[in-house]
Amino acid sequence: MSPLPGANRMEQLVESIAERVVNLVLDAIDINAIVGQVDVDGLIDRVDVQKIIDRVDVDEIVSRVDVEKIIERVDVDEIVSRVDVEKLIQRVDIDSLVQQTELGTIIAHSTSGIASEALDVVRAQGVGLDDFTARWVNRILRRSSAEWPKGPEKLLMAPPAPVPPLAAEASP
């Protein structure tokens, strides 16, 4: 507080005058014109962006981002509809892709799959006929093979884990 009487009022008056002056000056300034005079490109050239980036804690920022919310706001259909798939495919190096994915191996697998499937069927038919023949022989000889050994003990494995039923078998 000022020791002189009326000094307070004087200070308030000076402050209000200064405020008015500043407002008048700001009103008079055309900021757009000033910004227009600034060489923004030159200014940006001087900025060491790498240093700024180095000072940013990206992990901290990312940890604050709610990715789910961002994804919800993205219209994926709209983005996909804008993509020119033809152009995209033309940019794909098919040869390199084939080398990386070993498509040849996949084709070989599918071919061998057909062969093994045919073999499986032949073998399954064989096992079925084996059982059929053995059943009839036992029936004719009026004997039961239930107590007979299934095979050499060393080769008989533990019972296998349950296998999911076939779709056709599962449905009534």
Partner: protein
Amino acid sequence: MSRPPTPADMGRQGNYAGAVTRLVAFAADIGASWGIFTLALAGLGFAINLVTGKQVNLTSRQILALIAIVIWEFVYFAYQWALGGKTMGMALLGIRVVATDGDPITPKQAVIRTLTLPLSFLLMGLGFIGILLNKDRHALHDRLAKTVVVYSWDARAARLRWLAKQEPVPPV
């Protein structure tokens, strides 16, 4: 495919193989061995013709051809059984020969089995009747060589392969 491997086929690895599968495998082996022999004879005749310029028909020399076929059949069966316990036909049908206790067949057993195989034929095929009647499905040559024939086909894997290829069932 008409018959996928069923749960009844599961866990058959190591079980005694039945008569039908063994018969089909043997027929396949006879076909394969004759085919290879005929091709080899034709190739040999062609090579002799190329070198000497003379037309030679090896099949017309019956005694020589008979000796060659006997030796060839011996080599075909004995070598393959000694090597992995299975011939081409057996591999096709998913069966293999093992010692009676389940151990891999020895070269000595392979040779004895091959030499005694014709005995099962010479007794009007009665040597094979044990496959139908005996509890361990021994043929005469099996008994003499102390071997048994078991399934080596992994029906469980086959069933899983078959299931994997099925169309997914639409939700009800």
